[in-house]
């Protein structure tokens, strides 16, 4: 007899639990306000990343096309996966000293893991985070970038 009743209580409890679950989905179905979707390409205008967003490593240039990078290579050393290659150039400064400056600051976006070590370790704060995230391309070689813009030069610090 006991098992007979259990048979029915089982059915009852089971149905109850199922209805409970259905109430959750049902409630969401009827409350379109709970939709959380951000419609990406449509909201492109208004979409703003958080200001600390790590999109890519960039080298800010000022309006005179100048940057801070000295070409010391510390960032390349610190980068855990070799995403940065520094090609140095030797020039002769006006006062006759031989000096190394940056020729190409090559940045492999395709390998970067956005760990931030390069930015943190750069002694002259030449690098920073870019907010761009739309990187998809058809050709992998497009992902290798030269961060210092052509013809750019280094900002001489006031302290010098």
């Amino acid at each position: 007899m006991n098992s007979f009743f259990k048979y029915f209580t089982d059915i009852f409890n089971g149905v109850k639990s199922l209805l409970k679950g259905m109430s959750v989905t049902g409630r969401y179905f009827f409350s379109p306000g709970s939709i959380v979707t951000q419609q990406y390409p449509e909201n492109r205008k208004t979409l703003k990343m958080f200001d600390r967003f790590k999109g890519e490593v960039i080298m800010p240039h000022n309006e005179k096309n100048q940057h801070h990078c000295t070409g010391c290579g510390i960032c390349a050393n610190n980068c855990p996966n070799g995403s940065i290659e520094i090609v140095q150039d030797k020039i002769e400064t006006p006062d006759g000293k031989k000096e190394r400056i940056i020729d190409k600051h090559i940045y492999h976006l395709s390998m970067c893991t956005f760990c931030g070590l390069c930015i943190k370790s750069c002694p002259s704060n030449a690098l920073s985070w870019g907010q761009e995230f739309e990187h998809a391309v058809f050709d992998r070689s497009k992902l290798t970038k030269i961060l210092n813009k052509p013809g750019s030069s280094i900002i001489k610090d006031i302290t010098e």
Binding site: Y40, R44, M111, E134, H135, A136, V137, F138, R140, L143
Partner: protein
């Protein structure tokens, strides 16, 4: 999104075929429209980027707006494979086989630094394939580690643009791409 907002338009130009006659262009347009807007991905994910792929399918970013939420577990019914995550030497033949088993036309998105180039495991690792394009032909590269869901959606839109260049007279033959 406007054409100019996209990156890498110059590479896209290279894919363009010279136009056919008008009848064919309409058919092509319909065909490409169908294909581009109905990309069913294969459930294929190996590591971290997979989580972001799931996030892209999640309510916040909602893949399904692109008609892509129909994840197919069987490659026979999938149109596209999103290689999300690292591919290692042991996995490479599996990936190749899965790709081979998909019906034409099929597309590949390399998602994440690992799939694009080996990413953090490019140097010093003994078991990582440095970019899935060594194994299968890749249509769109989406760098990032991990890729933001938005970036993936952007990559999908890039792929859609690429698909829209196909023509009936000059169909895409994946086997010849390699």
């Amino acid at each position: 999104m406007k054409e100019a907002d996209f990156r890498d338009n110059d590479t896209l130009e290279l894919f363009k075929h010279s136009g056919g006659n008008i009848l064919f262009t309409t058919i092509d347009a319909i065909m490409d429209w169908g294909r581009a807007n109905s990309l069913w991905p294969l459930t294929f994910a190996t590591s971290c980027c997979a989580i972001e792929m799931m996030a892209a399918a999640a309510p916040r970013h909602d893949f399904s707006r692109f008609g892509m939420e129909v994840y197919r577990a069987s490659p026979r019914q999938a149109d596209m494979i999103v290689v999300a995550g690292t591919i290692v030497n042991k996995m490479a033949p599996v990936l190749k086989r899965l790709y081979d088993q998909m019906p034409d036309p099929k597309y590949v998105i390399a998602m994440g630094a690992c799939a694009v180039s080996g990413g953090p495991f490019f140097y010093n690792s003994y078991h990582v394939v440095r970019g899935v394009d060594h194994i299968i032909p890749v249509d769109v590269y989406v760098p990032g580690c991990p890729v933001r869901p938005e970036a993936l959606l952007y990559g999908v839109m890039q792929l859609q643009r690429k698909i829209k260049l196909e023509t009936l007279t000059n169909p895409r033959k994946t086997e010849n791409l390699q």
